[in-house]
């Protein structure tokens, strides 16, 4: 039976990052497994928005450190050919008077305090950056110049390539059937490609985490939620690469929008989505009524888009926890098991740092960011990490 020091289950953007960082931090033998191919699950469905705006302080820290990686990606992964597909167009977030205003003010103030480059804009300044949008009712507009969007699939495959160069064994199209445990301690995994022994398993199984929960008999709350994304095209008002990502806290769906393909708008709702009964990353149906409903919200903010055409649409699935924040760290009662799941729609933004801190935890090193707030025990203790915006992917 082949033996490894650490086995990582799930080669999405988070698992690939974990494997990369394990090798970087000196792990001797690492195996990265995926049921499909690298980044082909929910990673490939990511809208790719990068920002540090969170109401949860620790998330800001994870996102800020991750931004530094995205911003210097090729040199970070040590591969001149690697690209994160980064478009550094900035991130605008605005709220009118109402219940989102106080959380926005508080989150922006916290970011400033944490040393994040941040500007408060007037409606006129915001209009100069995003002239296709109206800001007449905005009470507060925050602007992060060091933000934008990138490509989650490219990042996942680049991390996996870097991991391979660092000596990690990557096996695709392998199903893990269970984690092998003896006397409360991880001793290996049983897979469709045979059994492998190890002392440490890091699970980054996303919406498939309930499988792990059943193998080790520990509750791991997570619900798969499907979210629809639309690409709209409006000849009169193209959303160019130079225009910032925009978060509209004033719309009923708390829309986020970004440039897509250089002239289209990628738009989606940042609220609770369609709960699925089981882990299923397949493309879901998007009714025309839903397109009309989101289109109406877009047109309210981007007047020219009242005439926009639907260029394409797709769905992505989030692994949502009860407080819309991830679980990171060791699982009490199962020695040698570490999890990183429940990213609730912000896994990609945090993936470089999450990969690093999980690798640090596995290797017994001090973690760059404390994992304590992300402990799985918070669901039992009731000490939830709910963001100031409530449930939804702002957090």
């Amino acid at each position: 039976m082949k033996s490894f020091d650490v086995i990582v289950i799930g080669a999405g953007v988070v698992g690939s990052s974990v494997a990369f960082h394990l090798a970087r931090l000196g792990a001797k033998s690492v195996l990265l497994l995926d049921r499909g191919t690298i980044g082909a699950g929910t990673t490939s469905q990511s809208s790719g928005i990068l920002r540090t705006h969170y109401s949860v302080r620790e998330n800001v820290e994870l996102a800020r450190r991750s931004w530094d990686v995205f911003n210097n990606f090729a040199s970070y992964v040590g591969d001149d050919d690697a690209s994160a597909g980064l478009v550094k167009c900035g991130y605008l977030i605005a709220s009118p008077e109402g219940d989102k205003l106080d959380p926005l003010r508080a989150s922006l103030a916290q970011q400033v305090e944490q040393g994040i480059p941040l500007e408060f804009l007037s409606a006129q300044q915001a209009t100069e950056l995003l002239p296709i949008c109206r800001f007449d009712d905005a009470a507060v507009i925050g602007y992060e110049p060091e933000a934008g969007f990138a490509d989650a699939y490219m990042v996942a495959t680049s991390f996996a390539r870097g991991a391979r160069r660092g000596g990690v064994t990557v096996k695709e199209n392998v199903n893990v059937n269970r984690v092998l445990i003896e006397n409360g301690k991880v001793v290996g995994v049983s897979t469709s490609a045979g059994d492998f022994t190890c002392d440490t398993v890091i699970s980054t199984q996303n919406i498939w985490t309930p499988e792990l929960a059943a193998w080790v008999n520990v509750p791991m709350p997570v619900v798969p939620e499907r979210h629809a994304v639309l690409a709209l095209e409006c000849e009169a008002a193209p959303y160019t690469f130079k225009m910032p990502v925009y978060k509209d806290l004033g719309s009923p769906g708390m829309l986020y929008c970004r440039s897509y393909g250089g002239n289209q708008m990628l738009v989606s709702e940042g609220i609770v989505g369609e709960k699925l009964f089981g882990p299923e990353a397949e493309q879901g149906d998007i009714p025309l009524d839903y397109v009309a409903e989101v289109g109406e919200q877009v047109a309210d903010r981007f007047p020219a888009y009242a005439e926009a055409g639907l260029a394409s649409s797709w769905t992505g699935v989030y692994d949502v926890t009860p407080d819309w924040n991830p679980v990171l760290g060791r699982v009490p009662g199962v020695q040698g098991l570490i999890v990183g799941y429940g990213f609730s729609g912000h896994g990609f933004k945090l993936s470089p740092t999450v990969g690093k801190v999980l690798a640090q935890e596995a290797l017994g090193l001090a973690t760059d960011v404390s994992l304590a707030p992300y402990a799985i025990t918070r669901f039992a203790s009731g000490n939830l990490l709910t963001g100031k915006y409530g449930l939804g992917a702002v957090s």
Binding site: L232, L276, V291, G295, Y305, A308, G309
Partner: protein, 249 residues
């Protein structure tokens, strides 16, 4: 001149389809459904003919389950003026669809019926041809260009090795190929307008058609999984394998 376009609700081309465990068919529960892409081209072509003033009305027709109304609404958002759903939960094979469409054609008396050349789910490529036979109308399949003038359709067809141009006396059947046009995006205002356009629901019984399948599906299986490759030691080993194992050189 009225034009009928036939549209089918199919599993979206971005979905990786899965075969049901009992091998009776493909599992379409809870996955993205869309209009068959060739039918989108048909609706676009009919709409362009009406916009050019060569047709007075475009009627989109679909046969199948209640949810096909969504597909018809998409057709009306592209430009069809009204829609007819022949609603049934029964399994529909091409001959049954052709008979249902014939019944609708008898009722509506169009001069032109435009259909996709095939549907991306069963890839049968039969309905248009069967409908032409049942109506005893001329047909031009795999169209890449359609011109209408003085009761005649001049159609360029995609054939092996090039293009063929045929002249049909209307009424006629045309089935679409990919190069015929690039369908427009449905716009938000047109999605709203489509909601207000008439959608009539008929049944096979009301049309006097028995849609019962004539063919029995024995089983549906996934393609064989690709086998893992092997590494060969050197060029000589590769040549040996190509010669003696693969027998390709």
């Amino acid at each position: 001149m009225k034009i009928i376009t036939a549209v089918k609700r199919v599993v979206d081309y971005n979905v990786s389809v899965r075969v049901k465990s009992d091998q009776s068919g493909v599992d379409i529960a809870n996955v993205k459904m869309s209009m068959n892409p060739f039918d989108e081209i048909a609706v676009e072509e009919a709409t362009r003919l009406r916009e050019k003033g060569q047709a007075t009305e475009v009627i989109a027709v679909s046969c199948g389950v209640l949810q096909s109304q969504e597909t018809l609404r998409t057709a009306m958002a592209i430009g069809a003026d009204r829609a007819i759903l022949v609603q049934t939960d029964a399994e529909l094979q091409p001959l049954a669809v052709a008979k249902l469409l014939k019944a609708v054609v008898d009722k509506e008396q169009p001069q032109l019926v435009i259909l996709g050349k095939q549907a991306i789910d069963d890839d049968a490529n039969q309905t248009g041809q069967m409908l032409a036979a049942l109506l005893d109308w001329p047909q031009a399949t795999f169209a890449s260009k359609v011109e209408i003038a003085d009761g005649v359709a001049v159609v360029t067809r995609e054939v092996d090795g090039g293009a063929e141009t045929v002249r049909l006396t209307l009424p006629a059947i045309v089935t679409t190929d990919l190069r015929l046009n690039e369908p427009r995006y449905v716009t938000l205002p047109n999605i709203m307008k489509a909601k207000k356009k008439p959608l009539e629901v008929l049944t096979p019984e009301a049309l006097g058609v028995d849609p019962a399948p004539r063919l029995q599906t024995v089983r549906v299986v996934e393609p064989a999984a690709r086998k893992a490759g092997v590494k060969v030691a050197d060029v000589a080993a590769l040549v040996d394998k190509l010669k003696n194992e693969a027998k390709v050189i």
